[in-house]
């Protein structure tokens, strides 16, 4: 595919959010509604993945959009509006998670020292179409339960990078982590999820009973 390399000094076209943000700053609230509509689903999903609690996720989404609205003056155009918004939502989410765990420390570094999942153990191949063996409800339950078991520091990275589709750099910027830290967490998160899903998705015939990764 032919790509056009930006030449030195050439400006990238401004992100469409820039104009919306400008309109909001100028007092046009409807422009903010547009931003909300554009990102509410993603933000809710991120909050739900991190907090693992529906009520908290609702509150996080509300609070993040309200905070962003009030702090819009502080938003600098050098990062994307969306990543700025996500950063607020992630911080709010971690705060709620901490409250739920009644003061237990929840940080992005928690449990990341674990060796679990750093080496694949269950090497049975999966069914070519493993989703077929479960109803939509069952499948959703399996996927929710599985990601819930990840340490928060892995869950956050996987959610932003793989579920939401941010780049490694954006994820690093959003979480205040280095790029190598994001990469190492992402690999471990992916491998842990893989290991746990293997229990449900591996080929059925010769059911090996060595068990999962619990």
């Amino acid at each position: 595919m032919a790509t056009i390399q930006p030449t030195a000094g050439e400006l990238e076209p401004p992100h469409p959010d820039v104009a919306l943000v400008e309109r909001v700053r100028g007092g046009d609230v409807s422009a903010y509604d547009e931003l909300v509509r554009k990102y509410e689903r993603q933000l809710f999903r991120i909050a739900q993945h991190i907090t693992q609690n529906r009520e908290d996720a609702e509150d996080v989404m509300q609070d993040a959009f309200l905070k962003a609205y009030e702090k819009l003056e502080q938003f600098q155009g050098n990062s994307k509006f969306y990543t700025w918004l996500v950063r607020i939502a992630v911080n709010e989410s971690l705060m709620r998670l901490r409250k739920r765990r009644s003061g237990r420390m929840v940080s992005l570094d928690e449990d990341v020292e674990t060796e679990e999942g750093s080496v694949p153990r269950d090497l049975a191949d999966w069914d070519p179409d493993p989703e077929q063996n479960y109803s939509q409800t069952e499948l959703a339950e399996i996927l929710r339960k599985t990601i819930q078991g990840l340490p928060p520091g892995f869950r956050v990275v996987f959610t932003l990078r793989d579920v939401d589709g941010l780049s490694t750099e954006e994820t690093a910027e959003t979480l205040g982590l280095s790029v190598p830290a994001v990469k190492s967490r992402l690999l471990r998160a992916r491998l842990q999820l893989r290991e746990r899903l293997s229990r449900y998705f591996k080929r059925r015939k010769a059911s090996t009973t060595s068990g999962g990764s619990k």
Binding site: E40, F44, L66, E70, P130, L143, R144, F158, L197
Partner: protein, 78 residues
């Protein structure tokens, strides 16, 4: 290439961030190693399955509540 070396490059391979030369080396390892082949395909599947399933529906009415909350602040501010 050993399995450990392969594993260290797994993410870059999945995210398509490897040079053609490295890709060829990884492919070569895959041809002779069922374990890494399975790890690669099932890890890919793991990502794809999470990407393609919406696990949480946004509650209805949330947007309206949010809109109302924003309007309430706005009356004070603008």
């Amino acid at each position: 290439m050993t399995c450990t070396e392969f594993l260290a490059m797994l993410d870059d391979l999945i995210d398509d961030a490897v040079t053609p030369q490295l890709r060829a080396e990884l492919q070569e390892h895959l041809h002779g190693c069922d374990h890494c082949e399975v790890t690669l395909s099932t890890t890919r599947k793991t990502i794809q399955i999470y990407r393609s399933h919406e696990l949480y529906d946004m509650p209805s009415g949330l947007r309206e509540r949010l809109h109302a909350a924003i309007m309430a602040r706005c009356k004070k501010g603008c």
